[in-house]
C-alpha cells in the first residue's frame, strides 16, 4: 500500500495542499511551525520536507511569542490595503523569522521589542482565494 492509499499526509506520491493544516490550526488559535526530528530545526511556513536538512518534516505548535527583528511603515501599497501600514519581521521564540503586520504605535516600536502573536480577523479587500474567511495573524508588542 502506498502512503497515499494509507491516507498518510506526508506522502511523496500524491499532491496535497500541505499548509492548509496551518490555517485550520490558526482558526482554532494555534500557530503551527514546521518541525524536524532529524535536525531539530523549526521552520516557517510548515513544509512536508525540512528546508534545512531535507528530512520528512512534521508540525509543532509555536509558543506564540517572539521579538521584533525589523519593521517598516509603508506609506503606499495596493488599493486593497489601507495606508500607512506597519509590516515587520518577527523572530519567533523557536527561531524562524516570520513576516507579519505589527500592531501598536509605530513610534513606540524598536528592534528587539518582545511581541505576542495574535490571531486576527482578516478584513482587507484582498482575494485570498480558498483562504477567504480564514483568520490571519499579527504581532502585538508586549
Amino acid at each position: 500500500m502506498t502512503d497515499h492509499e494509507s491516507g498518510d499526509d506526508t506522502t511523496t506520491d500524491g499532491a496535497e495542499w500541505y499548509t492548509k493544516r496551518f490555517w485550520d490550526a490558526l482558526r482554532s488559535g494555534t500557530f503551527l511551525l514546521g518541525s524536524c526530528d532529524t535536525c531539530q530545526d523549526a521552520h516557517f511556513p510548515p513544509a512536508p520536507v525540512c528546508p534545512h536538512c531535507g528530512a520528512d518534516a512534521d508540525t509543532t505548535a509555536a509558543e506564540g511569542t517572539g521579538t521584533l527583528y525589523s519593521f517598516s511603515r509603508q506609506h503606499r501599497t495596493a488599493p486593497a490595503f489601507d495606508s500607512p501600514i506597519t509590516i515587520g519581521t518577527v523572530e519567533l521564540a523557536e527561531g524562524p523569522r516570520v513576516l507579519m503586520r505589527i500592531q501598536g504605535a509605530y513610534e513606540s516600536l524598536e528592534i528587539g521589542k518582545e511581541v505576542e502573536i495574535l490571531v486576527t480577523e482578516y478584513r482587507e479587500d484582498y482575494d485570498r482565494g480558498p483562504l477567504s474567511g480564514y483568520p490571519m495573524f499579527a504581532a502585538r508588542p508586549e
Binding site: 525589523s70 519581521t89 523569522r97
Partner: protein, 379 residues
Amino acid sequence: MPEAHIAGIGTHPLGTHDVPERDLATHVTRQASADAGVPLSDIDGVYMPKPRPWTKQKFFSTAFVGYLGLDVTQNLEIYTGGTSGGKAMHSAVADVRSGRLDTALVLAVERDSVVETERYFEYIVSIFDREFGSPFGPSVPGVYAQSLRRYMYEYDVDREDVASIVVKNRENGATTPEGLFDSSTDVESVLGSDVIADPLRLYECPALCDGAAAIVLTSDPVGPRVTGIGHHHPPSHLSGVPDTSMATLPAVGPSVDEAVSDAGTAIEAVDVLEPYAPFPHIEAILTEELGLFERGEGAAACARGETRPDGRIPVSPSGGCIGRGHPAMVTPLLNYVGAVRQIRGTASTQVPDVETVLTTSEHGHVDGMTTTIIEATST
C-alpha cells in the same frame, strides 16, 4: 572554446514612451547591429527577459523573430524578476561559448508608463508568498526598508552616509545618455524627500520608467569579452535567509566567486563596479560582501569618496538603478552597456584605463544574484 564578445550595444533614453515595445525593441536591436557591424541576418539567437506581465504583446520573442525575419537556433524569454536580464545574457554567453551559435542578440524592453500605479502595486503584492506574505499588503521598498533598519542598527551606520550613495549615483547618472535625471541632488534633499517606507525616502527608491537595450554577442574576437558568469540563490524569498542577518547579502559571495573563478581573475583586478543596487544600502552592503570594505563601512566609504569615479573603487559610474532610472528588465543590460563604454573609453562618467568591469543583477531582496565580468580584449 569560443569566447563571447560584446560587439555592439544599443539603447534608448529612459523616460515615458508612446512607441510600442516591439518598436522600441526593433530600434535598439538595429542600433546594436549597426554598432557591431553585424547584419540582422547573422543573428542566430534571441535572449530576453520575458516582458512585464502588463505588456500587451505575449510570446514577445516569437512575435519579434517573425516580425524582423530572424532565423534563429534559439529564442528564450526568462522571468525571475530583476535577474531576468542577467540570466538572458548568461544563457547567450553559454550558447556562444558552447559553439551552439555564433551571434546572439540579448534584448530587453519595458514600459512601466502603461501600467496604472494601483495595478503595479497589486502585481508587487503578488510576488510575495501567496498565503503567508501577500495578504499583509507588502511592498518592495517595505522589505528593503527593513534591511536598511537592520543595517543601521547592527553597524551604527550614519543615515547621511547612506544618503551620500544616492548623491553620488545621481551625480554620475546626470550625464548618462539614457539617464532619467539631468541633475544631481544633495544629502539634505534626499533625507527631506517623502517617506516611502520608513526609513526609506523617495530619492532612495529607484524610478520606474520605460526603456530598451540590446547587445550583440559574437564568437568573433571583436569588442570586450564576457570572461566570467556566476549566479547564486540561497534559500530565501523576500524575507532574508534563515538564521542570517538581513544586513548581509548571502547571494553575493558565491555568485561573485563563481564569476571570478570562471574568468580566472581576482576581485582585486576589477576596475569598476556596475551593480544592480536598487536601494543605497544595498550598494553599500554589496561592496562589503565583495570584501572591499569592512562590514558596516560601505556607506561611510562612499561618503569619503572611495566609490566615486575618481575613488579607490568606482561604483555605478553610470548612475545605476538610482541615478539612471530603473526599468527592472532593462537595468542588467544597461549595466553591461555601462561596462562596455568604460572599456571602450566612451562613458559619460569615464574612469581612466578600465580593463575589467564587474556587473550584477538581483531579484527579490537580493535573494538571487547574477555576476558578470567583462574584460577588455587585448590587441
